[in-house]
């Protein structure tokens, strides 16, 4: 494995998160790491260790209570919601445990949805590239199918293509194979790995599956909201 030498695409510095309430709950504390372009990083840890909180912070869905987060060198801590939404749309792709494809739209339309959100005709410009991605994953015959006409594995592959539609710098995946059987899980993970490697895209994946994590470039382990380890693996 070659160690990337580019400047970090994502950098966290002493990030912490406390959920307010009658009894404030600390979910993260002193998390510091950076991720370079093209890296495939797994975040692992037990339930309640802060994995999802960290992913939400990285995806600009939430703001840290302390510390700072930089995306492409720009401090993105505490952005206005609309600006955070714009950055998510243009720079990030999301994959969730469940596909959450819009049932009213075809597979192709679902994949083009992040482009359509931009409202600048990007969906028209990107359609050719997206169709090529469908071909790449063998889903061209299912372009016009509705989500309910696809199998579970196909739905999740379409969800992966959707995360790639805007050609994002970072893909954030939350248990992307957690809802699939082992055969489909292996296929979907393999696909995610291949496509992002070819496109030199950064992936940060939250998983509780140690075997899956071992197939990434790097594993960050969280324990009780703190980074326990940050280990480079073989991928």
């Amino acid at each position: 494995m070659s160690v990337p030498t580019d400047p970090p695409i994502l950098a966290l510095e002493n990030v912490g998160k406390v959920y307010p309430g009658a009894v404030p709950t600390r979910a993260l504390e002193g998390v510091t790491f950076s991720v370079r372009a093209g890296e495939f990083v797994a975040i692992v840890g037990a339930s309640g260790s802060g994995k999802t909180t960290l992913l939400n912070l990285l995806g600009l869905l939430d703001s840290p209570s302390e510390g700072r987060i930089a995306l492409d060198g720009r401090d993105v801590t505490g952005l206005w919601p609309a600006e955070a939404a714009r950055l998510r749309r243009d720079r990030m792709g999301f994959i969730f445990q469940f596909h959450y494809l819009l049932p009213e739209f075809s597979a192709l339309e679902n994949v083009l949805m992040p482009c359509r959100l931009a409202g600048d005709g990007r969906d028209l410009r990107e359609e050719g590239r997206v169709r090529a991605l469908f071909a790449r994953v063998g889903l061209t015959p299912k372009l016009d199918r509705r989500p309910d006409q696809l199998s579970g594995g196909e739905q999740q592959r379409v969800a992966i293509l959707r995360a790639l539609a805007n050609d994002p710098r970072v893909i954030l995946a939350d248990e992307p194979t957690g809802n699939l059987d082992s055969r489909n899980a292996a296929e979907v993970f393999g696909l995610l790995r291949e496509i992002t490697r070819e496109a030199q895209r950064t992936v940060i994946m939250v998983t509780h599956d140690r075997d899956l994590a071992a197939k990434t470039d790097r594993v960050i382990t969280l324990r009780d909201g703190r980074m326990e380890s940050d280990t480079a693996v073989g991928g």
Binding site: T52, N56, G59, L61, D62, P81, A82, A85, R86, L87, R88, R89, D90, M92, F94, F96, Q97, F98, Y100, L102, P103, E104, F105, M113, P114, R116, L117, A118, G119, G121, D123, L124, R162, D174
Partner: protein, 419 residues
């Protein structure tokens, strides 16, 4: 053609996908619009029929000479050594009050209200006794130029025998009830005797039936010259009759004329205050029905859209995670409200139009006169359709605001956690 706008595309697709809910919402709006248009058209029709019943048989505004007030002698400056004579002077109210040299006044009145008037005529009115052999009945005498007076009361259209236009001297036209009471037909002669004691004999040239009791049973119409002779007023007239474009503007117009003319001016509204009060109550009821109908429609849409938003909670969250702004999500659901309202309003307008056309064509036969008339007095106006559609659109949009706001507030983190 593919819809390029994100909000419009999602709004339309979701509505198409949730067909049952969409049809239900459109149905609710359509029913409301139909009800609003139907109610306002019917109530307007009932009011117009009622007002027409009152105003078709009378001038909307009447102009008459001022009543002479009794003079108090000691108020007069020259009353010092006046001698008061007691004699047989006719009572003031027995004299026919008249307007001499009336032609300039006719032009002046016409010039004062050039836009509001639809008909203006000089009138000669008095009281006569109409007699045929031993039968004698009191009636109102009107001296007219039939072609002009017909714009005040349409007798020509309501002739059941003989003729009206081209009425000659020595001829009269009377109502069917009066003719029946007297036992006369067209061609018979009757005698007329005025309060001034002048008697003449006329031939019945025509008999009409308007459906208004006072007109059919108590009006004798003769040419102007004959009426002037009977009342002994020479070339003078007893007043003017006006028809105005908007019957409800009659009192305003009367008020304006009152300020500018040295005559007594009365509108039909002064004599029918009770009826008008009833009409106002009816309008109030109509507005209440419209308000509650609109509110029901809005609440139904709101409830259905809240259900829709709740069902789409996860998709909305994921869209927001992908970069949809709160404004974009807000637009999706307000557009849905607008689309549902537009489609419902269009359907409701069509249904209302068809219903009103059908009801408007139904007729009923009067058991007393045997005349056919509309069963439902319906007045379809652009305004009623505009009102129905406008309210439906406003209610739909307002109703969609709360669900849309809820949708725009969906927190993607909660959705992700909820998985």
């Amino acid at each position: 053609m593919a819809i390029r706008s994100f909000a419009l595309a999602v709004a339309v697709r979701q509505l198409a996908h949730n067909r049952g809910q969409t049809l239900l919402s459109i149905g609710v709006v359509a029913m409301s619009v139909t009800l609003i248009i139907f109610t306002s058209s019917l109530i307007r029709g009932v009011q117009v029929r009622l007002v027409n019943t009152i105003t078709d048989s009378i001038p909307h505004v009447r102009i008459m000479p001022l009543e002479r007030q009794p003079e108090v002698l000691w108020d007069r400056a020259d009353a010092g050594d006046a001698v008061v004579r007691v004699g047989t002077v006719p009572k003031l109210e027995q004299r026919v009050r008249k307007i001499e040299g009336w032609q300039p006044w006719l032009e002046r009145i016409s010039a004062l209200q050039p836009h509001d008037l639809t008909a203006l005529t000089a009138s000669i009115e008095g009281t006569v006794v109409i007699a045929r052999e031993s039968k004698r009945l009191s009636a109102r005498l009107v001296g007219v130029v039939p072609e002009v007076y017909n714009r005040i009361i349409d007798l020509q259209q309501n002739l059941v025998a003989g003729r009206y236009f081209g009425l000659n001297g020595g001829e009269a036209v009377i109502g069917l009830k009066l003719a029946t009471d007297l036992g006369v037909r067209v061609g018979n002669r009757v005698s007329l005797r005025s309060e001034e004691g002048i008697t003449t004999s006329v031939t019945i040239a025509g008999i009409y039936e308007t459906g208004f009791g006072s007109v059919d049973g108590g009006l004798v119409v003769v040419p102007v010259r004959d009426a002037q002779s009977l009342l002994g007023i020479g070339n003078a007239i007893t007043g003017f009759g006006l028809k105005v474009r908007d019957v409800f503007a009659a009192e305003r117009i009367a008020g304006e004329l009152r300020q500018q003319l040295p005559f007594k001016v009365e509108s039909w509204m002064q004599d029918n205050e009770r009826t008008l009060s009833g009409l106002r109550a009816q309008s109030g009821s109509s507005q209440m029905i419209i308000f509650f109908t609109t509110a029901s429609s809005g609440l139904a849409i709101a409830a259905l859209m809240v259900m829709s938003v709740t069902g789409k909670y996860r998709e909305i969250g994921i869209l927001k995670a992908m970069g949809a702004t709160a404004g974009q999500i807000l637009r999706v659901f307000t557009l849905q409200g607008a689309i549902l309202s537009l489609l419902g309003a269009a359907l409701g307008s069509g249904a209302a139009f068809a219903l009103l056309r059908w009801l408007g064509g139904l007729q009923t036969i009067s058991p007393t006169t045997g005349r056919a008339s509309e069963l439902f007095p319906i007045v379809m106006t652009f305004g009623n359709f505009f009102l129905g559609n406008g309210l439906a659109l406003a209610a739909g949009l307002a109703a969609s605001l709360y669900p849309a706001w809820r949708a725009s507030r969906v927190n993607p983190i909660e959705v992700i956690r909820g998985q």
